[in-house]
């Protein structure tokens, strides 16, 4: 019990974060791609493709953050003060983009709300990348509390991860639009997806090289034997997925590219998990050291086991209900 409970919780929170990254990823991506639309009609079409979903998508972030507090209060109490500024910037960016979403349709002058939507989306994505990057780079801890300064998070690697996530979300958004829209928006997003794929692959390669070079523990995890025998398929499958994605985009396929980008994200995520498990706060605190009381983890686990399938069920229901394409200048009916 004592041993596997934190592992189950790490897996659950990992799932919530993955759900968040994929689901809010594509709607943040649409915000990032917003300035490339030609006119308001196209922007309306882009927004309509995510309108029924974005509230639910963003809720996974609350579950991820809340889950971290519930299951690993010692990690939460270190990570949040350490990443104070990027977290605040992310939250404010999400505030602006969320309300811009709802306000945009009432307003006569959309320019400023478009700016707020794009800036908010881009900044939120960048801040999330920075949070990820500085977490991997390591957080100094003394006596169970954060022991660094207010700008410790601002490392070159963290900034690299910030840019990488902006590109990654844009790619997700572009393939979502390829799948969910028609007309010029769909055509442009396909072209954008190709460019973005190359950018994202470059970033993935950079992160894959940088992390083992900067952190011996990560190099050892991947390149020591026998680990390497088990782990080499991860980059190999990634390369295969990237190749297929390129082919599908070139052939003008609509649904497979989006699924391939999700696979790409999950593979990248798996790579990071392999590099860092069992550390929740690298390089010092593991999932076991930071776990909540077993009574708390069990109480919450019972609820999660009962409710998560339900949540996934009605999430699937709403995606099914609003299936199909959003045409130019048209809306759901």
């Amino acid at each position: 019990m004592e041993w596997y409970l934190p592992v189950i919780w790490a897996a659950l929170i990992g799932t919530a974060v993955a759900m968040y990254v994929i689901l809010d990823g594509f709607d943040l991506g649409i915000g990032i791609l917003f300035p490339f639309a030609r006119n308001e009609g196209e922007r309306d079409q882009m927004m309509r493709s995510v309108a029924p979903f974005w509230d639910g998508n963003e809720t996974w972030l609350v579950l991820g953050g809340g889950g971290l507090w519930v299951a690993f209060p010692r990690a939460y109490a270190v990570v949040m003060p350490a990443l104070y500024l990027p977290v605040i910037v992310m939250l404010l960016a999400l505030v602006f983009r969320g309300v811009a979403f709802e306000f945009r349709t009432v307003s006569h002058s959309k320019t400023w709300l478009n700016v707020a939507f794009t800036t908010g989306s881009t900044l939120a994505a960048f801040a999330q990348g920075v949070i990820l990057g500085s977490l991997i780079d390591g957080i100094p801890v003394r006596d169970g509390a954060y022991a660094g300064g207010p700008l410790h998070w601002a490392t070159p690697f963290a900034l690299l991860c910030g840019l990488a996530l902006v590109a990654g979300y844009a790619l997700l958004g572009a393939t979502w639009l390829t799948m969910k829209t028609e007309g010029p928006v769909a055509a442009r997003s396909r072209a954008q997806a190709k460019t973005l794929l190359l950018v994202v692959l470059t970033f993935m390669a950079a992160v894959s090289l940088w992390t083992p070079l900067a952190h011996p523990r990560i190099a050892e995890r991947w390149f020591s034997l026998p680990n390497f025998y088990f782990l080499w398929p991860v980059p190999a499958v990634t390369a295969l997925v990237a190749f297929l994605l390129w082919r599908w985009l070139a052939k003008g396929r609509e649904v497979p590219p989006f699924l391939a980008v999700i696979a790409l994200f999950l593979l990248g995520y798996l790579g990071l998990v392999i590099s860092n498990f069992p550390y929740l706060v690298p390089p010092s605190l593991t999932v076991w050291q930071t776990a909540a009381a077993p009574a708390s983890q069990i109480f919450m686990l019972l609820g999660t086991v009962a409710l998560l399938p339900l949540i996934l069920g009605y999430t699937a229901f709403i995606y099914w209900l609003f299936r199909g394409k959003v045409r130019e200048g048209e809306s759901y009916h």
Binding site: A51, T59, G65, P73, A77, L94, V99, G303, F322
Partner: protein
């Protein structure tokens, strides 16, 4: 410059949560109202109820978005500014918040999608059911949040080991001594707050002479509900106060500005509590009033502020004045609701212009009462963040004051902008008013309720 991190973190929390609570207080009540309208539409087949349902759903959408984004901020603030709170009581409070996310947030967000965009995609019963699910979700959310807050006021079902709280009995944690009272009080407050907004909008339409039938329906529904709920709130509030007296007597002493516990308490209608001297200046009081309310006897005694050292007292002025604001608004609400019901019974409600004029201006009073009530509850708990378990000063993050000052500034700026726009847009939706039959007529419903309203307005203009 020297920044006091505790003060800044408290200011930041007070600011962000005051901003946030406005939206749940409104959306909890409004979703229930929308679901009721939906049920009446299905039950009677009257199209007006359907139109009103659609109209209020648009306003709900804008308010809900602001509630969601300001709520996400709060759930992270526990970590950024209050990391030691998260650590010390996280085992107990954390799961309550976790259950809120699991049982309420996803439910609300998903079914709101159906409610907003699904009218032409789902059968009417499922459409109305979605409204009911959203309403249940908001009430569920209030259940868990009020449970967590009540645990901070009257902790139960836990034990302390190495300075960290561990749960021993979850039912005792969730249903802690002050929870039933606080939950009932807040839920009722949310319904009242919404009731006064609906009343104000209805009155506004009648005065302007437009959307007459809709305005009358709003007035009747709001008054019918509030004539019951407003007096009920007085009773719930009284019970809640007695419960507080039992568990947090010093908070009650601050509410009454009652210094000397060896004498019966007067009820101060107005006073200026002098915290240094420990007396009330410029007092206008009802002799023995507080003793009567709190102990139900003329000479009843209850603890005074002087029974604890000054460092153990809450900021008396905040609590005292916030309590008076809440009481004043509550009394006004009872009077307004009962008088309105009287006019209705006499058959002159829709013609009594002065009453409609006053009510049209009163949309905001519920919000102020809610914020004042929370100020009593939260300021009154000081210097504790968790009564008797953890002091506020010991709960903050190891973050420099300047960092908190920067983020506080950003929040004030951002929320100022967002709030102004939000009020502006909601006001505009109200000015547009409920539209004629739109979806049925054209089979077309915009991507968002707001666009739909817009389109319908444009069509109406073109036709005329």
């Amino acid at each position: 410059m020297d920044f006091d991190p505790v003060l800044l973190a408290r200011l930041q929390f007070a600011f962000t949560i005051s901003f946030h609570i406005i939206f749940p207080s409104f959306t909890i009540g409004l979703s229930a109202y929308i679901a009721t309208l939906g049920a009446m539409w299905l039950g009677t087949g009257t199209e007006r109820y359907h139109q009103l349902m659609r109209f209020w759903t648009k306003i709900f959408a804008v308010s809900f978005a602001m509630g969601v984004v300001s709520g996400i901020v709060l759930s992270y603030q526990f970590g950024t500014n209050w990391s030691r709170f998260s650590l010390i009581v996280g085992n107990v409070v954390g799961p309550l918040i976790g259950y809120e996310v699991l049982t309420a947030f996803f439910l609300e967000a998903t079914f709101l999608g159906v409610l907003l965009f699904g009218f032409n995609k789902v059968p009417p019963w499922l459409y109305v059911l979605s409204a009911a699910v959203v309403a249940a979700g908001t009430a569920m959310s209030a259940f868990w949040i009020l449970s967590a807050n009540s645990w901070m006021q009257t902790p139960a079902g836990y034990e302390m080991k190495d300075g960290i709280a561990f749960p021993t009995d979850w039912l005792a944690v969730i249903f802690n001594p002050s929870f039933p009272y606080r939950f009932a009080h807040m839920l009722n407050a949310a319904y009242l707050t919404t009731g006064f907004v609906v009343l104000a909008v209805g009155a506004r339409y009648l005065i302007a002479g437009k959307h007459i039938e809709e305005g009358r329906t709003m007035l009747r529904m709001a008054l019918g509900l509030m004539a019951i709920l407003a007096p009920l709130q007085l009773f719930i509030g009284d019970q809640h106060g007695l419960n507080t007296l039992k568990h947090q007597p010093i908070k009650v002493a601050a509410m009454e500005a009652h210094w000397d516990g060896s004498k019966p308490g007067d009820f101060e209608i107005f006073a200026w509590p002098d915290e240094k001297a420990g007396v009330n200046r410029f007092a206008i009081s009802i002799p023995h009033g507080s003793s009567l309310i709190l102990t139900h006897s003329w000479d009843g005694l209850f603890p005074g502020l002087a029974s604890v050292p000054a460092s153990e007292r809450p900021p008396v002025k905040n609590v005292f004045f916030a309590f008076r604001i809440m009481l004043a608004i509550g009394s006004f609400m009872i009077a307004a609701a009962l008088f309105g019901a009287f006019l209705w019974w006499r058959g002159t409600l829709f013609d009594t212009r002065w009453y409609l004029r006053v009510m049209a201006q009163c949309w905001w009073i519920g919000f102020v009462a809610v914020i004042a009530g929370w100020m009593v509850s939260e300021s009154g708990r000081q210097p504790w963040i968790v009564e008797g378990v953890l002091r506020t000063a010991d709960a903050i993050s190891p973050v420099p004051g300047a960092t908190i000052a920067v983020s506080l500034t950003l929040f004030v700026f951002a929320y100022g902008v967002v709030f102004s726009f939000g009020i502006y847009y909601i006001n505009r939706l109200i000015a547009q008013g409920p539209q004629g039959p739109l979806a049925e007529e054209t089979g077309h419903f915009g991507s968002s309720p707001i666009t739909a309203a817009h389109d319908a307005g444009r069509r109406a203009v073109q036709k005329s």
